[in-house]
Amino acid sequence: MNIITTVSEVELQGRFDAHEAEAFRELADNALQNSADLRVVLTAVDFVDSTALAELVRAMKRCREAGGDLTLVKPSAPVRVILELTKLDAAFTIV
């Protein structure tokens, strides 16, 4: 039997805050049913708050527990600043 794992990719746009966190959680949980690896494209995200960051951390932990990883793809400048200020850039895989 061959097991083929695919990398799921989620692309977000605009503000990513407490109002969007639940929708992201549902999306990430669904994606993680198909793959332990998740790529979250943040190029078009202009703001993340602490609730959104907590959702990204939660998804990252779920990926790693399943043997995969969560990758933040091309975060926009404002998002990158927040990641650096909170030192979360040291916790995430960012490409």
Partner: protein
Amino acid sequence: MSSTAPDSQVSLLAGALVDANDQLLALYELASITADSLDEGEVVTRILLRAQKLLQTDALILNTATPYSVGEPSAIDDLATAQHSDFAGQSVVASSTCTLDTGQQITVSALRRESEFGTADNKLLDAVATMLAGAVNTARLHEVAVTQAVMASDHETASQLAQSALPRWLPNLPGADLFARSEPARSAGGDLYCYEVIDGVLHFAVGDVSGKGLPAALMMTNVISASKAAFHRHSSEGSAAMLRAVDLWVHRSLSDAGMFVTLLLGSFDPASRELQLSNAGHSPVFLERNGVLEPRLAHHPPVGVLPIDEPEQSSEILASGDRLVVASDGITEQMGNDGGMFGDDRLHDLIDANPKMSAAELGALLFDRVEMFAGTAPQGDDRTLFIVNAVPEESNE
């Protein structure tokens, strides 16, 4: 040409009119029952008792999740048996079904041993069933409303208890001019600050638990407890040791809850003017030294993200007039009427433009400016400020 109705027809018509009038009166009496009680058991039993009398039945049963019945025990048994077996024996059974707001069906059944049910009786039984459904709906809505009110009250009490974990008084510490205030966006928030003076040294923690509301507030109290324990057990080892202790204490519970806390732990010794900081993801943190105001970046990701195995700390000797300003993102991320954010730069510039202010004056100014900036926009997140001014030791004795 005229005709005269036979006496028998007049008698039947008069009887029907009397019956109809009796039904109307019966409905009126039934309706008056539901208006004065919201207890399901009480109002259902009263309607059944009244209906039993009006319908002249030997037993009535209402089948709901909790069945109700009135009548002689043997008649109730007969009715229950008849319902299950479709056997009425020498008696007559009638029933009517209604649907509750929840979609659940209720059936009211009646038993008469000595006469049959007529058309009017069946209509009255339908009216009784409708009345019972309305009463059950109202009683259950009332019960839900009461439960929600109790939960809201409990939530408010828990929120107040959580917020009471924040210290209300600032220590009078010669050599340190202090300000601390937290304004939650809701009745409870996840922002925190706490401090202790141990052997003349101020140890403090400022943080922000991710998320909002009561869950964040409850976790906040846990972090405050861990920080205070760390002050007492590990302050002599430095701020990094305190951060390590807090991380060991709360990492697992935060991680399991899918939360984290940005946390700055520090110590300021007014005698030596040494300021130690260990910062796990907290921002913004500004330190002004010799008139130069600069942000201080975090050493580690927030507590709860990854275990902090080897915590770092910074240490510097302040001069009189130097100051530390720690805010929460509820200050810098406050939205204004124009849709823009207050921002780190605006906070930096306000601190920079007021170098001679006391900690209390600067704190009040910053809160005022954030409120002015917000205008009619709602408070988006908890707002917290913690300020330490290094001052000559005799200045605030």
